[in-house]
């Protein structure tokens, strides 16, 4: 069986995107593994999904409807006098304080059986998917929720990457340390950081040059630092699970997303990395993050109805049960791509300054 990352590279044509910059660095003979460490900055993210033309295979019942369409059904123009409190605020209440038992709008769930992702629990369960190479046990129930919601596909999905590379609040840098061999190493450590430096686009404007520097945010970004134990086999990095708080930004709006039990599955080269970040999306963290990032107005563009999606999330959640046995997280995977960078660590005095110069009290 091919690894997940091999499948991704072939499917996306990303081999070419990665191969060119590899050659550039190799020609220059630049040593990118320094002091047994190498770092990468995230340049692309998208939810791991099985997509077919017109979504005909994964969404046999069509795509979901959004807030505008639902409003017309819930509060028809020829019905009782519509009030702000009885319509707009009633719907916004359901967004911020959802009551799934009262949510009756229809929801169209995406179907497999072929879906990319990571086997998070090491098991092959009945509701797991199979990846394109035949690998079984793929835990990606999140796909069932978002697979037929336009917000998460195509143009809307591209915006996520644009926001990721345009801003520094949500810049993700990973550093591999204890690296003796970038192809086979039984024991490495992966640490996530927030990077602060602008990205370095390549001549096409569509990619990013390896070899740029990234200054780490060791002051405000401490919450985004997480370490994972891992290994590299035949150039593919896999890690043990750990919880990871990921910074998010959409438009100018910031938020965070807690992923439980994250496992990385990345093909590494000197110039880049590509693969999956699998993990369980914490539902409450997700719900807050989504509303704070993407307002009802913006969700309407992608026909994403928060109360309806939340109900589906609760129903399909498959991990981290609470004391009452209700699952609090749902398995997912992000398809991610990285470009190699050199880390610039801030001076200790600045990193810990906590300076309030210029600030009243």
């Amino acid at each position: 069986m091919k690894s997940n990352i091999q499948r991704v590279l072939i499917a996306s044509g990303a081999v070419f995107a990665l191969a060119a910059p590899f050659a550039a660095n190799a020609q220059e003979g630049q040593e990118v593994v320094r002091d047994r460490s190498i770092a990468y900055v995230m340049t692309m993210e998208e939810w791991a999904m099985h997509k077919t033309p017109g979504a005909k295979a994964e969404c046999p019942n069509g795509m979901n409807e959004g807030p505008r369409e639902q409003f017309k059904v819930l509060f028809p123009e020829n019905g009782p006098k519509r009030t702000v409190v009885g319509t707009q605020l009633a719907r916004e209440s359901q967004i911020y304080f959802p009551e799934p038992e009262k949510e009756n709008m229809p929801f169209k769930e995406a179907v497999g059986p072929v879906v990319p992702g990571v086997n998070l629990d090491g098991k092959i369960d009945a509701d797991d998917f199979t990846n394109a190479d035949g690998g079984k046990g793929i835990d990606n129930q999140f796909f069932r929720v978002i697979g037929c919601v336009s917000s998460y596909r195509d143009v809307a999905a591209l915006m996520v990457t644009k926001w990721r590379v345009d801003n520094s609040f949500n810049r993700v840098v990973i550093e591999l340390t204890d690296v003796d061999d970038l192809v086979n190493d039984p024991d490495v450590t992966v640490t996530t950081y927030r990077g602060l430096s602008p990205m370095l686009p390549d001549a096409t404007g569509n990619g990013y040059m390896p070899g740029a520097s990234q200054k780490l945010d060791m002051r405000f970004g401490k919450d985004f630092i997480t370490s994972f134990k891992g290994k590299i086999v035949d150039g593919v990095l896999t890690t043990e699970p750990a919880d990871y708080l990921m910074p998010y930004q959409a438009l100018a709006n910031i938020s965070t997303q807690l992923f439980r039990g994250v496992k990385w599955d990345l093909r590494l080269t000197q110039d880049g990395a590509e693969g999956y970040m699998g993990g369980y999306v914490d539902l409450e963290s997700w719900h807050a993050q989504r509303q704070e990032s993407i307002s009802t107005h913006h969700q309407s563009y992608g026909q994403e109805s928060s109360p309806t999606v939340y109900k589906a999330l609760k129903r399909l959640a498959d991990g981290y049960p609470d004391a009452a046995g209700q699952n609090t997280a749902i398995s997912s995977a992000l398809h991610v791509r990285f470009t190699q960078v050199f880390i610039e660590r801030p001076a200790k005095a600045t990193a810990q300054a906590g300076s309030q110069n210029g600030i009243s009290r």
């Binding site: 702000v84 409190v85 605020l89 520094s168 910074p247 910031i254 107005h297 300054a353 009290r361």
Partner: protein, 453 residues
């Protein structure tokens, strides 16, 4: 040119009492302004939050309402065409999205008209234009003062001379967009050299270049000599003055070396920081000995509040480090009434802070309680009494009233979901990312998205 009105001496005590620099600011450190011609009956008052603003004879701040675009149309006024009148709107205008026009507004029976909230500054029949001050005609045939073409109003939210509760200016004031079309303070031009600008940020009126990039001062300098030389100049660039630049008021010029002149403000030589890659940066103040420069700082926060590092930068926090939030709200009507204060309908806030349930709202977004005898030392921060069942102002003597802190007359909150210091879990909670019927963190320094200014 007339700097103060004939009423100014009579108001001196009131102005001194309520519009003087707060305790944390050094005496005299108030933003200066150009003394432009004004009609009689008006004055300029130095305010805590917005610097110098135009005020009426009582010392009440004057506001304009420039037109601003929203999702489905514009609101506000064009120059020379006041629209704020005694129309009582009953339905939403549909300027926003995704909800349609025609929804009946909350609390219609007590809904005020635009002029009841924003009394127009009427002009007498014999009023004559002075400088940028002109007289415009209202739809009812009356005359109204205008500045720079925009009709002038006062705000019923302002209680004292120097209050600016009706609106802000600069980036905080905004001009349309998802936060609505707010009123903005009418202000005289700032008295600074052309290559500089003053920008409203949460920490004060920040001095910067006209491009927006912050300027800094260096503790090791004297008023006449720069000690940033050699390697220092790799990180800091002196703000050079042109050959014809002239010293004036707070602004002086030194000669660093023959033929090379450098600006100084209040005897502090000015620099920009080479590493700054965004406007209005406060990052340079992290460097030992270097400081951002302000025309005036915001008043000190009341005792019990503190500045807290968070993953979004620095925020205001309570004594336990829990982030403070501000609630923003403007309704979707043609007169754009604020719903962000206790004198307005609370239905909007209750929907997003408690699903319409006042008790859940109190639990999710608790008010920041003030001691019974709490004093802030400024008009920006006041302690007010709130009816916990309604969110409105409490009745006098109401037994279960909550005594809470308010900023610009609006209560501030914490968020129950923030479990440890530095979390900002409700930043953006509510409609339009918290900009409209929603909560935003009280951001003081934001290196990431300009939320603090």
């Amino acid at each position: 040119m007339q700097r103060f009105s004939r009423f100014a001496p009579l108001l001196a005590l009131a102005v001194l009492a309520f519009a003087q620099p707060a305790a944390a600011q050094r005496a005299g450190e108030r933003e200066t302004y150009e003394h432009v011609p004004m009609p009689s009956g008006f004055q300029v008052i130095s305010t805590e939050l917005e610097g110098p603003v135009f005020a009426d004879a009582r010392g009440h701040t004057l506001y304009t309402w420039p037109r601003g675009g929203q999702r489905n149309g514009d609101a506000g006024e064009q120059q020379g065409r006041p629209t704020c009148d005694d129309t009582k709107y009953t339905e939403t205008a549909g300027l926003m999205s995704p909800y349609p026009a025609g929804l009946e507004l909350p609390e219609l029976a007590t809904r005020p008209t635009c002029v009841q909230i924003w009394p127009p500054v009427l002009a007498g029949a014999d009023a004559k234009p002075v400088g940028k001050w002109t007289v415009v005609e209202r739809k009812d045939g009356g005359k109204q003062w205008a500045y720079d073409g925009y009709a002038l109003y006062t705000s019923v939210l302002d209680e004292m001379p120097g209050d600016t509760r009706g609106g802000r200016r600069g980036r905080n004031g905004g001009n349309g967009g998802d936060g609505g079309t707010p009123r903005i303070v009418a202000a005289p031009p700032t008295d600074i050299p052309a290559q500089f600008g003053i920008y409203s940020v949460r920490s004060g009126r920040l001095l910067a270049l006209s491009s927006g990039f912050s300027v800094y001062s260096y503790d090791k300098d004297t008023a006449t000599k720069s000690n940033c030389t050699g390697a220092c100049l790799r990180d800091w660039s002196p703000v050079l003055a042109g050959e014809t630049a002239m010293a004036k008021g707070d602004w002086t010029i030194i000669e660093r070396e023959p033929g090379v002149k450098q600006w100084a403000f209040r005897k502090k030589l000015l620099y920009t920081r080479v590493a700054d890659d965004s406007a209005r940066s406060l990052e340079g103040s992290d460097e030992a000995g270097w400081n951002n420069v302000y025309a005036q700082k915001e008043p000190a926060y009341p005792a019990g509040f503190k500045v807290q590092d968070s993953y979004a930068g620095q925020v205001l926090a309570d004594a336990q480090g829990h982030t403070i939030y501000i609630y923003n709200c403007i309704d979707d009507t043609f007169d754009q009434q604020g719903c962000d204060h206790p004198g307005a309908p609370q239905a909007y806030r209750l929907a997003v802070c408690g699903g319409g349930d006042a008790a859940r709202c109190l639990a999710t977004f608790p008010y920041v309680l003030a001691a019974k005898d709490a004093k802030s030392g400024s008009r920006a921060w006041t302690a007010i009494d709130i009816d916990p069942k309604t969110g409105r102002h409490a009745a006098p003597g109401q037994a279960d009233a909550l005594h809470v802190w308010a900023y610009r007359g609006r209560p501030v909150f914490t968020f129950a979901g923030d479990k440890k210091p530095g979390q900002v879990g409700a930043d953006g909670w509510g409609e339009f990312h918290g900009a409209r019927n929603g909560f935003k963190a009280f951001s003081i320094r934001d290196d990431f998205k300009g939320n603090a200014g």
